[in-house]
Each structure stands twice: as C-alpha cells, then as structure tokens.
C-alpha cells in the first residue's frame, strides 16, 4: 500500500492526507490540480488508525503512522507505528543539495570580505565627510566579489582540449552550463562592470554563446540546431547539397559564432583537392566569405585567443573599420562572380550569409530562433553601437514583438528586468528562479552603483516591521541556512549583517542548538565568543551542564555549570551530591571522587556549595594518615581540618554527626587531648545546632549506628574535661 500526502499550492496540506489503496487514482487527481505527490512506504501490516504530521528539520515533514491496535495478540513482531520523514520539493533540478551547500560555504568568505570593506569605506567617508563613498577601489572590490562568487558556480572552460582537432566536430563540449551561472554572469556584466558599458553588446554575444544551450529545453535554439546537425554531419558526403548546412551556418553567423561558421565553411566540397580545379570560382567565393567573416570588426576590450574578428577599443576606429568592411561585403555581393558559380545551394547560401552580415532584418529574423538570439543579432549587425539601457530595452521589446515568447524562461525574465532597469522585477526573478541565496548575493551587485536601487532596497519599510528589503532577504536566507544541520553555522555571518533583527535572531539560533555532543556545543560557544554574546554562552553552558547532570555524567555537568559560574545550580546539585557522598566516599571508592574534587579546584567561587567536598576530601585524607601512621602530628592536622570543616558555613548540617563520628579516634586520642577548650566548645555547639535541626521535618538522618550520637557526646565531654585540666 502506498500512502499519499497531498500538498497543494500555497496552503500546506490543504488537500489533507489520504490513505488510499488506489495509488493511481490519487496520482491522477494530483496531476490535475498540480499538486506534488510524495509516495512512501510505511511498512505496517495492520490497518492505519491515525496519522500525525509535523515539520522536521529543513523542508522535511515528519509523518507518524499509527497502526490500529490489533485484536489478535499473536502478531508480536508487528510494530505499533512508524515515523517516516518525507522530504518536500526536489529543489532545483540542475543543482543538487550538496552542490547548493558547497555554493553556500564558498560564498561566505567573499560576502564577509565585501561587508567588512563596505563598513570600512562608510566609516572612512563619515570621518572625512567625503561626499562620494565610491572610489576606484570600490569597483575593484565589487568586481572581486562578483568574480569569487562566479568561480563557485562552475567554470566554463572545457575540461580538456583534444590534441587532434576533429574537423567535423563543430561544437566543443565543455562543462554543462547552469542557469544559475548564466544569471550571475548577467548580473555581473550589467551591475559590476560599470566602466565597460560600451562593450555590453559584445559581452551579451559572449554570454549567449556560453549559455544558449540552456534555452534548448523550452525553446528551439541555434545551439540545438547545431547539435542536431553535428549528428548528421558524420554521415553526410556532400555537405553543400544539404540545405540544413546553409541554414545552420546562417543561424550561427546571426548570433555571432564566427569561428564555428568559418570552420563549417571550410567543410565545403570545393576545398577538396580533386574538385578544386573545376570549382575554382565557387571555392573563391566561399573563401572570400570566410575571410570577410573572420575580419569582422568588433567593439570589445579583449579577444580570447582563437576567436575570430578584429577588435577595436575606440569608437571612431571601429566605425571606420566597420564602414570599410561593409563596403567590402557590398562589393562582393554585387560582383559578377556569382553568375559563374554553378552550384545553386552555395550561391544562395553564401548570399544569404552576406545579407545577415549587412544586417538585413528579415534574414536575421528567419535565421534566429528565439527573441534573445534575434536581439543579439540586431546588436551585432544592425546597431552595434547601442549604448544605454533605455535603447537596449526598446530593442529588446522590438525583438519580443517579432519573436514572442512561447513559454517563459527564468533567464528571459531576468534579462527583461535588467534591461527595463526595474530592480523589483530583477529581485523577484532572482527569488523565483534561483532562490534566496541568489537574492542575498545579487543585492550586493544591484546596490553597488545605482543610487535608485540602493534607495529602494535600503529604505526602511514599516510594513516589513521597520527593516529594509536587503535585511529581509538576508534574514530569509539565514533562516534557510539555519534549517540544515550542516549550514546553520554559516547563518551567523548573514545574521550579523542585519542591523535590526540579526542579533536577536542569532541569539535565538544559538540558544536552540542541541547541546548533547561536545562538538556542537563547543561550536555554539565559539560563535558566541566571536560575537561577544556572553550571556548566551552562559545559558548554553547551563543547559549543557544540567543535561549532562541529568544523564549521570556528573563530572561533565559540574564542569559546565562551573564554566557558566552558575552558583545557584551548583549549590542545588551539591545537595544531591552530598546524598551520595555519605554512602560512597568510603576509602575504596575514593578514586572515583578524586577526579571530581580535582576538577572543582580550590577556588570556592566557581565551586559553589561543592567547596565542602574539597575540604571533606582533605579531612578524609588526613584521617587516613592518622589510621596509617598514628603520629600525633598527623592527628593534629586532621583536627585542624575537622575544625575548619565545622566552622565553614557551607558544610551541610547533616554531615556534622558523620564527621564527628569519623573523628572519634581523634577525640579520644590516647596521649593528650588534641582539641582545646574553645574548639571542643565549638563542636558541642554544633552538636546542639544539630539536635535543633533534627526537629525540622526536612532533616535527613545520616545512616549511622543508633549509639553514634551518644558516643560522640561522651567523647566530646571527656575531651572537654581533659582539655580544661590541661589548661
């Protein structure tokens, strides 16, 4: 039997919990409403009578299944119930939980470094009253931060470059790109790389080249066309006869993947040695187009090795070169050689490629698959000098009109938000598509250079309880981290950066950590030490102390209570300890106590009422010497410790009689009385106190022979007489 839990939309467990024998029916129902199904096996044989559901750690549900009490008692091995943990939500499909944790760990240091630099800058600008807190260093810091985070999300470089270049392998397979990295790179190029705005179009071209494959799942893409053609290519004899060859090349050219296009052009049949002689003109045209493509002027700062195109850093140079290049294309387009080219597909294919390079809007539209590709092609061939987000945004709108989105993609939403300069949309897309980690770390970039975004995100909002949006998201992320047993310890880094509620939540987080195991306990204490939360430290130690004490680990309990300087509890547990002392601190079990007494140390401040144990041990030791050696000196020392014990207010009254009974030998010392008159009087007074105390109902009798009191009285009286005589 399969148990189904229905979880629908916003309201958890809205659909209730159904125990159903017919799993298929329920699955169908759930699919219709769009709810998730989490089947699990509870393994109970008897029918289920009751279910209880509660939250477990993280986003797991704890489902307790109770079986109906079976009337037949023969089934002994059948459990009465079982508890199953059901993990909700698979999270992000492309990034596993462990990978998310790795990202979370890795982003701690860059985030903390940036925060400390921010604080340093703001305190510096306060001191010098400098109006602009953002200087050149600031952009370096932001860029360093962004690069550090970017490196965490995976590298784009192919794992290994093949030694022998396969002419027929058109696309190089690198590490699988992720949406998360694609999104971060978008944010980085728009918010962190402020100075290179002129090169933004080219940066977008590179971005699409890296991440076009991400759209393949939901949209037709140039990348998927290339991948499909790659498979066919191996079996093709004459590539130029295949219309797909030309189509794919035009598409790749439209989105600016020049090296792929040139590589494909060189596969053209006219390059083969046996055909070169009779297809000379045709080959000349192919080569001319290939050369034109590889000479395409591009407005960018640097060129990766192996990439085609000529780079220009300054606008006038670029404009001049581009005019010249377009003139060359026009010249080729109107040349007479086309009429001598016998191969129809080659002629048509090459000329349509020329149209793309000349920026024919219709050619671009038909060569590209989705609006981002169209947008990129416009940036490349029609408006390479587009500057400013406003004009980039209107161009994007135009592209969307030409190629409407069939289905939404999280990266597309993000791009529109960025280009539309709409911080709220960008944040919402980050949260919706990539979760709280992304939002918290992206806000650093969003606020880096934009005053508007800074105002929006750092403004205190009464409807959020007086905190700003930045803090809100940090708190949410910290909450997510806290819910996992491995990541809770990095939550403090984020909580501490929250001005309003961070500290309180940190204190709650630390107070809620389990104390059973030393490693975890010491971790909490360490975090308290870092943030100087001394009262929390003391509380944690007290909890740990009581926990250990309750579980019979008296030494550990005393240690932690001592560390917490909790005299109240130490005194309380001292009373409990004394109960067992009278019975067990005999000579043979002394070694057990020895360690505890040493732990207590001689410092009465931290020992609380347990100071008595220390003195008691000393007394027992000296008494031991007396019994061993019988020297008068040893006996004198024993008497001294007896007197100091009896004088000490921390000595419990119920120990008076056992102490005196133990020292009968001293009281009846043969050679001469060891106690003087005043000492004896003191002991007699104490004995008097004791008889008064015995009248109280809460008095605990010590386990001594019934004649003990009388023999002590007698000994004291005898001693008093002897002492008076001696004086």
């Amino acid at each position: 039997m399969v148990l189904l839990i229905r979880v629908s939309g916003g309201d958890l467990l809205d659909g209730g919990v159904h125990v159903d024998d017919d799993a298929d029916l329920d699955t169908r129902w759930c699919c219709e409403v769009g709810a998730a199904v989490y089947p699990f096996h509870h393994g109970l044989k008897s029918p289920i009578s009751r279910l209880s559901i509660s939250w477990s750690r993280g986003n797991s549900l704890r489902v307790s299944v109770f079986a109906a009490p079976s009337s037949v008692e023969s089934v002994e091995d059948d459990a009465g119930g079982t508890v199953v943990e059901v993990k909700l939500g698979g999270g992000d499909g492309e990034i596993s939980d462990a990978h998310w944790r790795r990202i979370a760990y890795g982003s701690v240091s860059p985030f903390a470094l940036l925060q400390s630099r921010k604080n340093a800058i703001s305190s510096l600008s306060k001191m010098s009253m400098n109006s602009s807190p953002y200087d050149a260093d600031w952009w370096d810091y932001i860029m360093e931060y962004s690069k550090d985070i970017n490196a965490l999300l995976g590298s784009q470089k192919p794992a290994s470059v093949p030694v022998i270049d396969d002419p027929k392998s058109v696309i190089v397979k690198g590490e699988e790109p992720t949406n998360l990295k694609a999104a971060w790179e978008l944010l980085e190029m728009f918010y962190a790389e402020k100075p290179s705005h002129l090169c933004l179009p080219e940066r977008l071209v590179d971005w699409l080249a890296d991440f076009d494959s991400l759209f393949s799942g939901t949209h037709p893409t140039v990348h998927s066309k290339l991948v499909d053609f790659q498979k066919e290519l191996v079996n093709l004899q004459v590539v130029e006869d295949n219309p797909k060859y030309w189509e794919v090349m035009s598409s790749a050219l439209a989105v600016g993947w020049l090296d792929i296009v040139v590589k494909m052009l060189r596969l053209h049949g006219s390059y083969q040695l046996d055909q070169l002689s009779n297809r000379e003109t045709e080959n000349g045209l192919v080569e001319a187009v290939a050369v034109l493509i590889s000479k395409m002027p591009r407005m960018r700062l640097d060129q990766e090795a192996g990439k085609l195109g000529e780079c220009f850093k300054a606008k006038p140079d670029f404009v001049k070169a581009r005019e010249k290049w377009r003139a060359q294309i026009n010249k080729l387009d109107s040349s007479a050689f086309w009429f001598q080219c016998a191969h129809l597909q080659t002629r048509e294919g090459l000329r349509s490629m020329l149209q793309i390079m000349l920026g024919n809007a219709n050619s671009l539209c038909s060569a590209t698959c989705h609006w981002i590709e169209l947008y990129i092609s416009h940036l490349l061939y029609i408006r390479p000098l587009t500057v400013g987000l406003e004009s980039m945004y209107s161009l994007a709108q135009k592209s969307i009109q030409l190629k409407p989105m069939a289905s939404a993609h999280r990266l597309m939403g993000l791009i529109i938000g960025i280009l539309g300069e709409n911080t709220e949309v960008v944040l919402a897309e980050c949260l919706k598509g990539f979760g709280p980690w992304m939002v918290v770390h992206a806000i650093e970039l969003l606020t880096a250079g934009s005053d508007h975004a800074e105002m929006l995100l750092l403004e205190e909002r009464p409807n959020l309880g007086g905190i700003n949006i930045e803090e809100l998201h940090r708190l949410v992320y910290a909450q997510v981290l806290s819910s996992h047993p491995l990541t809770w310890q990095i939550a403090p880094i984020y909580l501490i950066s929250c001005m309003k509620h961070g500290m309180v939540l940190l204190q709650i987080l630390l107070s809620k950590q389990p104390v059973q195991h030393n490693q975890l306990l010491l971790k909490s204490i360490e975090i308290c030490r870092l943030y100087e939360l001394h009262s929390i430290t003391a509380n944690i130690m007290k909890i740990a102390g009581v926990h250990h004490w309750k579980h019979g680990r008296k030494g550990s309990g005393v240690f932690w209570l001592q560390q917490a300087r909790d005299e109240y509890r130490l005194n309380r547990i001292a009373q409990q300890l004394f109960d067992s002392v009278g019975k067990t601190i005999s000579d043979e079990s002394f070694k057990q106590w020895e360690g505890l007494i040493q732990l207590l140390g001689s410092d009465s401040k931290t020992a609380g009422g347990l100071e008595f144990l220390h003195k008691y041990r000393d007394f027992k030791k000296s008494l031991q010497h007396v019994f061993d050696g019988k020297t008068t000196d040893a006996a004198r020392r024993a008497v001294e410790s007896l007197i100091s014990l009896m004088k000490n207010p921390s000595t419990p009254q119920r120990f008076y009689l056992p102490l005196l009974y133990d020292s009968l030998k001293l009281l009846n010392w043969k050679d001469r009385p060891l106690l003087n008159v005043s000492q004896t009087n003191l002991l007699l007074t104490k004995l008097q106190d004791l008889s008064l105390a015995r009248l109280r109902p809460d008095f605990i009798e010590s386990e001594l022979p019934p004649q003990a009191l009388n023999s002590v009285r007698l000994a004291l009286a005898t001693n008093l007489g002897r002492a008076i005589l001696e004086e």
Partner: protein, 361 residues
Amino acid sequence: MAFAAPQNPSRVHRIPQSKYIDAVRWLSPVSALDRFAAVAYYDTDTNSPSIEIICVDPNPQASSPILTPQSSWTPPSRISSLKTAHSTHQPILAAATFSGSIHILVSDLINGGTVESEATVSELGFHSGPVSAVDLREGGTECVSVGEDGRVNLVSFVGDSSKLSYRRIFDANGLVGYTAVKWASPSEFATGGYGFGLQWWDQRRPGGPVSQFKGNWCQGKTSGIVHSIDIHPSRKHTCLAGGSSGTVFAWDLRAQQQPIVLSGAGTGEAPISLLSESEVWEVQYDCYTRSSNIGDISSTRILPIMICSEDGILAVIEQGEEPLELLAEPCAINSFDIDQQNPSDVICSLEWESIAILTRS
C-alpha cells in the same frame, strides 16, 4: 600576532565531498604507488554514517588529486573516534560510535581495498552514551576506549571471535568524564578530560589512575576540555594534550604538576604565542619538521607538533619558536593525519564537507 611564513610553500588541494567528514586517517601503504585513506562520513540528508576506504591518486595531469572510493562499511551510528594501527600487515581500524559501540575493521588493500568488520562490542553496559575516544595499540591486539560516562574499557581481540571480550578497567560512575585516550606503552596509557585534567594508567597497577595531572591548573578562567592526546614513542614520560581555548600543553610525568604550555591560555606570565583561540581538535607529533637546533636533544624539550583547530588553523608548533601556519581555512579543521611513511603529506577533514590534502615541500 606574527606567524613565521613557511619557507617553502606547500601544495594544498581541497576536494569537495558532499557529506560531512567526522574523521580521516591515512592507511599504511602496501605499494609505493597506491595511497589509501579511511574516511568516516556522515550523510545528514539520509542520516547515514559510513566508513569508506578511498584511494588517493595524486594525478599529476589534473589540477587536484582524485579520491576514488574503494569500499564502504556502515556503522550503526555516527563515528566519534577513528584510529588506525600501522605496524600490522593489513591496516586495522578501530571505530567508536555515538551509540556506544566499538568496531574493529580490517581493510584488504591488495585486493581492491575492501573493508569489513572483524569484530564488534556493542552490548548494553559497555559504555553508557557515546564512546568519546578510542586508541589502538601498535600491533593491533588491544584497544582502550573511554567515555564521558567515566568508563575505561580495554578491548582485546586476539583470536578470531567476532564477538570481542572487554574488561572494565575503571568506572568513575560519571563523576569524571574522559574525552581523549592514547597508549604510551603496552601496559600504560593516558586519558584526558574536563578541566584540562590528565590521568596516567598502568594495567599492572589496577584500581584507578596511577598518576593524575591536576585539572584547572589555569585557575578556572580559561579552563576547558582535552580533545586529543599524543605520546611520542621515544618520550613516554611526556604526555602532549590539546584542548579548548587554543591550549596545547605537555605534562612531563617527572615534573608532576607543572604544565609546559606550548600555545594558548597558559598561566599568564610568559608571553606565549597565541595561535588560535578556539578548540584544538587534534594534536600529533610531527615527524616531518626537523627541530631547528638538532644538537639540543635534551629530553625535556618537546618535539615539533602539529595541531588543527576549530578556527581553521593547521600549524606546526615548536617549543620556544614562532608557530608555523600551514593552513588557515575559513571553516574548522576537524581532524588531520600525518602519513607515517611519507610525513610530508597531511590529510585533513574540513567542516565544509571537504578533504584537504597538503604536501609539504
């Protein structure tokens, strides 16, 4: 605080694991080419612990070594302490668990690095609560286990019985808890516990510790717990301990109650270099670092030691010298092990679910 910079930078590789690592140990190699390590993992998602034998392939072509899991064994609960014996023909592992059991594992490195449980003690009353530390005697016939319950047990495994026999050496009935243990000789071992207390035990003189190093020697202000003990085979009279507040100290049995503080809290007067302020999780004598003044082989001088700490420090400490910092991680280093055959190599387990392999040059 100035640290002596390493003269020769060491190579460090951090290898993400996607599971928490409780302990990591090198296994003595069977051939010059293959390196093996034993790792105690804990998967928090499935709540399942495991001990895995991994093959460490230095892999000169790629940027970092490749760890290939060879075999795995599932203990009944999370591992609290993992030790290996080196002088046996097959590596023997002793693993202690949070549920109070001890498992003796034998790994066959020649035939594919399999690991299997040789014997187990898990009966009720062996330890109440977790076993906090275990140590295997060299030669691998006996191990001693201690817990915060105050029990000190001796487990011997001569013969082929799958059920081990154990002998209770002492039971402090919880009045004293022990958190670390280390063999000194075939009959002696040292334990450590709360208040920086150390105890010396001799099986020939039963009934309790033969010698105690008084706890709370730093006047209660910075008192703490001993997490790890090491004893050098050539200096059995000195017991090295590391614990809370970055404290590393040695107890010379011949100078009964005076600790030799190497790092951390200290007694206050001497300006002792403070390497770390948090827990020192493990200490080991470092046979790679040659003492700078080789002529000074006085037996009172403490040999170079390596420590790892909660605040992410892996360092070598020499008495009277500036500590040498080998690693400074943003997260805790939970355990480390120096390769006995190849002492330049150190393997560490990092709190953020990764293993670091450090090669000193």
